[in-house]
Amino acid sequence: MKLRVSIDGDMSPFEWTQQGDQVRFRLGGNEERFGSMIEVEPGIYSVLLEGHSYEVKVVPGAHGVLYVDIGARHLAIDVIDPRRCSGGVRRSRRDGPENLAAPMPGRVVRVLAAVGDDVRAGEGLIVVEAMKMQNEMKSPKDGKLIQLSAREGDTVAAGQVLAVVE
């Protein structure tokens, strides 16, 4: 499979194939490698390569990023399959509507603005609480609040869009 991976922000081509536990893979311009990989527990991989034994742990983060622990290292990896989408590139637009997404799962404890309000960048719009910690979600820009899907008492998931500012 031919992919592109971004490791801590550095993008490289990545190829791999698997047959049973036997894997062949190549990262960027490096030589092709041959090894053995088994997912021994969900999200935990045992990889044997050139005599070394690696225990690799993978957990998904926000926006499709995967956090990978290997040895003493903690890497943020994006895996992009070019056949499926142009993917992985973060939106960097500052024009047009911007979403306000919940930074953590929690409960909406206060809504500080209403649809149609003019809001300023950095102005607090919604307060989400979880585990005795409150987080004030601030407007990403000057503009108008055109959508508001959070109500006080709602339970929200991390990444859930609660408001849109245009």
Partner: protein
């Protein structure tokens, strides 16, 4: 000894107490809120009583419901754990009037230490040094400003009823005083329904070292040595250890601080487990900070170095038994350290991370103790404190303990929710930490100086990491929408949808 004890708490500390009860052959009753029906403490108790909806004020903080539950099941005593009602003098008094034993000090002792200003007076009465400052809350702003000037800036304004950094402000110059006072007072009012604020000299980058004390109802009091808790983030302890590296270098400190702590406890008429917290400055002067009138989160490190079981001891003393040892019989062996495992995301501002635990691998083997309140499949509720577990390690020396802790952290894996396990690995690898150069500003400085590890030779680690990520990613796509729990799966789904744009 009691026949049945009710545990008025939840999470890891409820589980820890339930284990102690079972080990002593005492029947146990748990209480639980609606979201805790399947919690580990409910599973592990002999009896369980529902006490209301998720919000703490309607369940774990509701004195009447707790006392009704104790009456309903016929418990002779209540263990409050830490947090919730554990330092609530009104609750202790209500237990006394309902003739159920409160496992802790008397209501009077709790009340005395509940006010920081009164605690300071008691400490002085006991002969323990306190940080220069005022003995009573500020009433006259002008006079307070003069006092602050006399003590010398920087100073701290602190809530009299306070804790956890709430209602606390640093004041560097006289010009800042008035605004800081207003902020501190209103924050204290919101947090504790009490706006009283007092002044303390600010000790720059102190160590936080505390002494465990224990008293029986016959008036015997001992100390069980110190715990160093200087590693804090936003005034919350994250790593504790015993002995303190400072005490290892200067062993006489243990006895001096221990005697001061016992004197303070004696002045307060203290019995059962308590902790006297001190600040220690660069010249090894120590100052009374406050007394915690309950079992401390970090009590296991004291258990590991002394070989005592503090929960068993609490039960014995509360049942009227004498302390089984004299001060000179307390001895210390080796080095113990605790990491508090929180449901929080170090990659995202340490935001809380409740939700379903989909995968949980935990450390085992020599010198490793895990006090945990969770299990695989459990949905960590968003309603309570994010402490999932405490990883506690013992070794012959501090160096062995740190390496063993690293080894144990390597064996720890949690998926479904985020934890700070990886953050501890970075912290413990820090050379200043290894050297034992600890102070309460440590983590802030660590954040400033930490660097990404250099890529290893040949990039094999990156390539292997990419390989695992590629497999994981392919599996996620294959699985489609996974039938997991609401919060975490929805979050996962959102994350993937975003990434696919």
């Amino acid at each position: 000894m009691f026949g049945k004890v009710l545990v008025a708490n939840r999470g890891e500390i409820a589980v820890r107490i339930l284990r102690g009860l079972r080990e002593m052959g005492i029947r146990s009753a748990a209480v639980y809120s609606d979201v805790d029906r399947a919690a580990l403490h409910v599973r592990m108790a002999d009896e369980a009583i529902a006490i209301g909806p998720a919000p703490s004020r309607d369940s774990y903080l509701n004195i009447d419901r707790i006392l009704d539950a104790a009456a309903a099941c016929g418990a002779e005593a209540i263990h409050p754990g830490y947090g919730f009602l554990s330092e609530n003098a009104e609750f202790a008094a209500a237990c006394e009037s309902r003739r159920v034993v409160f496992i802790g000090p008397s209501a009077a002792a709790i009340r005395a230490m509940g006010s920081k200003t009164q605690g300071r007076r008691l400490a002085k009465a006991g002969g323990a040094p306190t940080v220069p400052g005022t003995e009573s809350p500020i009433v006259d702003l002008e006079q307070a400003r003069r006092t602050a000037g006399a003590i010398g800036y920087p100073i701290l304004l602190k809530a009299a009823a306070g804790g956890g950094g709430k209602g606390m402000r640093r004041v560097n110059r006289e010009e800042e005083f008035e605004a800081a006072f207003r902020d501190a007072s209103s924050e204290a009012e919101r947090a504790f329904q009490d706006g009283a604020v007092y002044i303390e000299k600010l000790v720059e980058n102190p160590r936080h070292i505390e002494i465990q004390v224990f008293g029986d109802q016959q008036g015997n009091l001992v100390h069980l040595g110190e715990r160093e808790c200087s590693i804090q983030r936003r005034h919350q302890k994250v790593i504790e250890e015993s002995p303190s590296p400072l005490v290892t270098l200067h062993p006489e400190l243990r006895q001096r601080m221990g005697e001061a702590a016992v004197a303070v406890a004696r002045a307060a008429g203290y019995s059962n487990a308590g902790t006297v917290e001190f600040l220690v400055d660069g010249d090894r002067n120590f100052y009374f900070l406050e007394m915690n009138t309950r079992l401390q989160v970090e009590h296991p490190i004291t258990e590991l170095v002394t070989g005592l079981d503090l929960v068993h001891l609490q039960l014995r003393v509360a049942a009227g038994e004498k302390l089984p040892m004299r001060q000179e019989e307390v001895c210390w062996r080796g080095s113990a350290m605790e990491c508090r495992i929180y449901a929080e995301d170090p990659d995202n501002h340490f935001f809380p991370s409740p939700g379903r635990i989909t995968q949980l691998s935990r450390p085992f083997g020599p010198g490793v103790r895990l006090d945990s309140g969770v299990y695989p499949g459990w949905v960590v509720p968003m309603d309570y404190d994010p402490l999932l577990a405490k990883l506690i390690v013992w070794g012959g020396t501090r160096d062995t303990t740190i390496r063993r802790m690293m080894r144990a952290l390597d064996e720890y894996f949690v998926a479904g929710i985020k934890t700070n396990v990886g953050f501890f690995r970075q912290l413990l690898d820090d050379s200043e930490f290894r050297l034992g150069h600890l102070h309460t500003g440590f983590i802030e400085q660590f954040f400033a100086r930490r660097q990404k590890p250099e890529p290893s030779g040949g990039g094999a680690e990156e390539a292997v990491a990419a390989l695992a990520a590629a497999h994981f990613s392919a599996k996620l796509k294959l699985d489609g929408v996974r039938p997991a729990a609401a919060p975490s799966s929805r979050w996962l789904l959102d994350g993937r949808a975003e990434g696919a744009r």
